[in-house]
């Protein structure tokens, strides 16, 4: 049987990619964030996942507003990065796991979720940066990818309750998968930040702490807020916490936090890194 080894959560601010590219990990601005990662490297070396099921949001690379899925599951054999408009060096491609992707899709539809299925999908910094942070010396990624996209761009967004339920459905799929893979869940983005409007620069450490303090032990506590509440509390892009909530749901009923790092600011964002294991 496949084993769920745990979950890894981190922010995906594009500027992190620039800092990695320049080798700024020890720079005083960046060090408090990158200091959260030696523990991640040790943990991954110990639990040795070979598949990653990743919850993230597209930023206008794979999806445009002509077709904007609320939930999208990648079912490709390979996923490439591409120019996101900034002409930056491209991130490494990922090998997919189509059989597991389709197993997840079957379970989701059985559970009355109706995702868009993507046999071709570009992946952006929201997936690549967490991998660059997790495996800084990798020449190729040591895990296969099953990407699950959540719309955090165009309202109406799916509720926190719905995203947690989506994650729990993915957990059922992984629990019934007959392969012998070692699976890590990944949730990317957040935490509180707002890029647009006169409130640009808004960060809310109190709400972030509430999320971090409840995510492992009582994720349902995060579903008491409506999307409008979350935008008010976390900022317009702070709604990316939906990716974290879904990944937590996929980890399973009980979890314990084994690592946490939280730092303000990275660019405009309250940046956080968390590891959890099934409990």
């Amino acid at each position: 049987m496949a084993e769920i080894v745990g979950a890894y959560f981190t922010s995906h601010v594009p500027a992190i990619g620039g800092a990695i590219h320049r080798g700024d990990q020890q720079d005083p601005y960046w060090k408090p964030f990158f200091d959260g990662f030696p523990k991640v490297h040790e943990w991954l070396a110990a639990v040795k996942p070979d598949v990653a099921v990743v919850f993230s949001n597209d930023h206008g690379l794979n999806f445009f507003l002509d077709k904007m899925p609320t939930f999208a599951v990648g079912a490709a054999a390979e996923y490439a990065n591409a120019d996101e408009g900034w002409g930056l060096p491209l991130y490494k491609s990922f090998q997919g796991h189509p059989a597991l992707s389709w197993h997840v899709i079957e379970q989701l539809v059985e559970d009355e979720f109706d995702p868009v299925t993507c046999q071709q999908m570009l992946v952006d910094h929201a997936i690549s940066i967490p991998f660059e942070l997790a495996y800084p010396d990798a020449r190729e990624w040591p895990v296969k990818l099953v990407p699950i996209g959540i719309n955090t761009v165009q309202h109406p967004l799916p509720s926190a309750k719905r995203c947690l339920a989506l994650g729990r459905s993915v957990h059922r799929a992984l629990a019934s998968w007959a392969g012998d893979e070692r699976i890590v869940l990944i949730g990317t983005g957040g935490l509180s930040h707002q890029l647009d409007g006169a409130r640009a620069g808004f960060i809310n450490a109190d709400y972030d702490r509430f999320c971090l303090d409840h995510l492992a032990s009582d994720p349902d506590a995060l579903t008491g807020h409506s999307i409008h509440d979350i935008v008010r509390l976390a900022g317009t892009q702070g709604v990316e916490v939906l990716n974290w909530i879904a990944a937590r749901g996929a980890l399973g009923p009980a979890a314990r936090e084994v690592h946490r790092n939280y730092h303000i600011p990275i660019s405009n964002t309250a940046a956080a890194t968390v590891l959890m294991e099934p409990a």
Binding site: A15, H59, G60, L61, F64, L65, A82, D83, E84, G85, W86, G87, V153, Q154, H155, P156, Q194, L195, D196, G197, A198, R199, A200, G201, F202, I203, N204, A205, D206, S226, H228, V231, R232, T236, Q237, H263, I264, P265, S267, N268, A270
Partner: protein
């Protein structure tokens, strides 16, 4: 029946169906900037490129003035607008300063102040 409208959030525009309809042309233009050839074409003749995407007058004016709040009011979404900003070498902190009226160092200091434990209200308005 329409759903109840929640209390507005100060300084915040939700990118909803109404904004997505209004902003479609502007966001389509910004989405095209994923391709370097399109970025170069835009830089060579901005007005002609805006014509090609049939921008509304409000969108054209906001783009010409580099008026980010105007772009948002005309339906622009920040994930797409970030691609336009990138053409001019502007990052999200530059864009934050443009929207809040602070200088870029002031905007960065406001973020750092939140890292020292100040709330947003204290850091922004204290």
């Amino acid at each position: 029946m329409a759903l109840p409208t929640p209390e507005p959030i100060p300084g915040t525009t939700l990118f909803d169906g109404s904004a997505a309809q209004m902003g479609y042309q502007l966001n389509a233009m910004c989405y095209s900037f994923n391709d370097k050839a399109n970025r170069d074409t835009f830089l060579a003749d901005e007005a002609a490129y805006c014509d090609r995407f049939d921008l509304t007058p409000a969108q054209r004016t906001a783009v010409a003035k580099r008026d980010v709040l105007g772009m948002i009011a005309a339906g622009g979404n920040i994930y797409y607008l970030a691609k336009l900003a990138g053409i001019f070498g502007l990052n999200v902190q530059d864009v934050g300063a443009m929207q809040t009226g602070w200088t870029v160092p002031e905007f960065k200091e406001m973020l750092l102040a939140q890292g020292r434990g100040l709330t947003y209200a204290e850091a922004a308005h204290g």
